[in-house]
Symmetry: C4
């Protein structure tokens, strides 16, 4: 209702925390209680859980991934002063991907040996990583960061995000190969371009006096 | 326990945020992991996901709808100073419709070609839009807005809400036609009446000096 | 880790809001998407939803119940200064009953004509109402209320809670009759005793100058 | 993006509260609505609920366990000033175990007479208790506690945590015996070692003037 659309950070962060908390908890719904022929058999239950061990490991791995995204997001969000439309849209895209994560985790946990399930999981992770990077870039370019955050400091953060993207992409080349070689080549090329772009910004940041370690 | 019932805004907003976060996350539970004959077959999983593509698109669409409602609600709630019984009741009706949204989304995702499923989805959206409009009108009429919000400013907001209602109704005429022509005519007439009502308030607001763009 | 156990109210209230938000949203999981023979048939879907209409009505009714409990709880919690062990325990019992509510709602929605399902629903509601009353009594007796809350004011609140309990119990006599006549008599007697107890406190409160309307 | 990684406590605690609220509510999903042959039969529903009584009791027991963990966690978290990487990691491991709790509760509720299900439940509880103890030790050793918390006071808290660990382990020996005698001996020995370690710290704390009651 204002001409300039501005949204309170606290409001957005409460939603983000809620979505993360639920996405994390929903992961466990995929770990099903096994059906036993003999309800009292210790051996049968242990072997059923043994067959489930992959799903249980996938649960803890996916939980760790969400925790990393959550930590990363909040470290960036801490430097944001206010949300405009573009940054809010970016946050919502980010949240829709986070909410979709339990599905990708369930797919991967059910079909760990299937290249397509791995690809969906890796691609979703890549999109989340990219959204985070775009999030910070939007905040930086549109002057939405706190005034206490220096330009050199922000650029250092952006370079780290870009490097994270590139490393992620290059690391996902083997997974992409299991699906299609052209996808793998595309991912590799994109990763290298981002790495080169990060290097260029690093030079600029250095001129501004930052230490992009 | 007070004669004048007043409720803290922060309290209500925490519940609203929680409900939205869960409704958003529950949407993904409708995207089911497909059953595969050959667990390692990349092609089979990809084609199964292809058949699922409608459900996945519906997930992202419904997520976007909830995000729009959430943003809209909080922009209005920001101007509210305190909750009385009527406004709290309106918020609770609003929340009960939001919690019902995942069901409508699941129904529509399962039967996209069924006119009745589309109608339930559109009708629920319409009710949510109407509840939001009523919410703001209650807050405005009962003097629950912040003192910093001018009367002209509030009326401008109300006109926008009314226009949103009308546009939504007129846009839902084609969907209504798939169910029953009399429903479609009723929706169209209602939309036009609301549009005319909005125009009348615009004139009043203009006299108070607001710019209802 | 302190000798005197004291817990921050904000902490507890966040948990309460979270539990309510999830319990409200989980209610809708019981409204299942119907299976259709002809996926495109509008009539079949409408008649399937018609058969579901009881479940949908039960959803909105249970949602309203939870909303009433939530409002009631927060109106009382607003007068509390700090939580000691007894009040925290009471809150946790309250929350465990609230989390159990979706099960009772699902049971009742599935078997609306079954007296036992109705009895579970009514009994759970009664326990929640009783827990709320005990909650306020504990806060009052142990001096955990805000200092701005006068003794007469607190007693008035307590009398209202007691009356709520009694009215609820007397209203649930018909439901109890469908299960067992002795249960019904017990519930009636308990209701009358509470009503008499409330009357006695009203006299005391009046001597303290309160207006227990 | 800072050289020294520090995370705001409020942020972390919101996530913790969200995860606990959802884990508590998800517990009830395991209490299934029974299928009845005669939908109107009061006796059949009561006897079906009677067969369910174990699951319902397990729900309230697991709810109480989560409530105890939540209370314990917040009492410790109240003394923490800031989160560094190690403490955040410990919190995330703690949360992943809490989210896993509904699975262990469901497993135990389904197979109460199966030693392996009991063992998973007890082992998970033990890991949660251990994580809590480690959490406080990290906060204590890395100087992350509030300055108002004295060293003697912190040590007293740590001793209580250690004793809790030891008592839990010794109490779980019978459950371990149902699985394997060597596991039981290992658990017993570990419990005794922790008890001895707690005693040693008590002596140190006493020298610092604390009263480790």
């Amino acid at each position: 209702m204002k001409n300039a659309f501005h949204m309170n950070r606290a409001r957005v962060e409460t939603l983000v925390d809620g979505v993360f908390a639920i996405a994390m908890t929903i992961l466990v719904l995929e770990v099903k209680v096994p059906d036993l022929a003999d309800k009292r058999s210790v051996d049968e239950l242990l072997s059923a859980l043994g067959h489930h061990s992959y799903v249980i490991a996938a649960y803890f791995f996916s939980f760790a991934m969400l925790a990393v995204f959550w930590t990363w997001h909040h470290r960036m969000a801490e430097t944001v002063r206010v949300f405009d439309k573009a940054l809010l849209l970016c946050t919502i895209v980010f949240l829709s991907l986070i909410c979709f994560f339990p599905f990708a985790a369930a797919l991967f946990g059910r079909y760990p040996t299937n290249g397509a399930a791995l690809f969906v999981y890796v691609m979703l992770t890549g999109l989340i990583v990219a959204t985070q990077t775009i999030y910070f870039k939007i905040a930086m370019m549109r002057g939405l960061l706190l005034e206490s955050v220096s330009r050199a400091y922000a650029m250092t953060g952006h370079v780290r995000n870009l490097r994270g993207c590139a490393i992620f992409m290059i690391a996902s080349v083997p997974a992409s190969l299991r699906l299609n070689e052209w996808v793998a080549i595309g991912v590799l090329v994109l990763g290298v371009i981002i790495l080169w772009h990060a290097k260029r910004i690093t030079t600029q940041a250095r001129e501004l006096g930052a230490d992009p370690s």
